[in-house]
Symmetry: C2
């Protein structure tokens, strides 16, 4: 079994990959950047910097204060944030589906191959029969 | 413009991505692990360890001594090594092709969006006309 991990590289050395995607999803789930950072075993500062990197990319906020309702007072994704992470996940699924045959071929190559040339064993003359 | 970078994760925490692919291709091109390492600005030891990681994955050698011919005496990829790296490149191309529309959509979101809410400019009364 093999899986794809995908990073998207944009112009200007900016990238979006599994870490940033997970951060946005956890902000949405936990309603807080601090709790998202903690769930990823990451410092608040590191999470905050990742978020700044994402917003430097999107040019518009991906998180906003959530007001009212049961979960009022926390942080939520903006529509841009949600579309961005959803699009990344869709790319992941679609890409993996499209290469499944080749991926299985590679995974198959990592199993011991009975046709592969084995290391030549030392030839021992006058073998004593074993068993 | 956005591009995919793909890492393939196999069972048991082993992975194959752009660095290992490039290393194999450079071994093939330069005929030497040392020259391949140098072309990647990587220590010989680091390149050698990467190669060991690849062979732990493939269970069979991916490089072999090349004998005879114009380029005799160097290092070449084995058929396994060549198939492995070719398959990785094919996956890369196929995956990117399959998600081109979504990739363009994401890339479009990173350009300044005229519909995005802009920061409210300070309203200045009694403007002096400029030009």
């Amino acid at each position: 079994m093999a899986r794809l991990t995908i990073r998207i590289d944009f112009d200007g050395n900016a990238a979006f990959g599994p870490g940033k995607a997970r951060l946005l999803e956890l902000i949405e789930q936990t309603g807080s950047l601090r709790r998202a950072a903690s769930a990823m075993d990451m410092s608040y500062r590191r999470a905050w910097l990742l978020l700044r990197e994402i917003e430097a990319l999107t040019k518009t906020p991906v998180v906003a204060a959530r007001t009212g309702g049961k979960k009022g007072g926390g942080t939520a994704l903006t529509p841009t944030g949600r579309v961005f992470v959803d699009c990344y996940r869709a790319i992941e699924i679609q890409a993996e589906r499209s290469v499944l045959a080749q991926l299985n071929r590679l995974a198959g190559m990592t199993k011991r191959n009975p046709d592969a040339p084995q290391k030549r064993k030392k030839v021992t003359r006058n073998r004593t029969p074993t068993g």
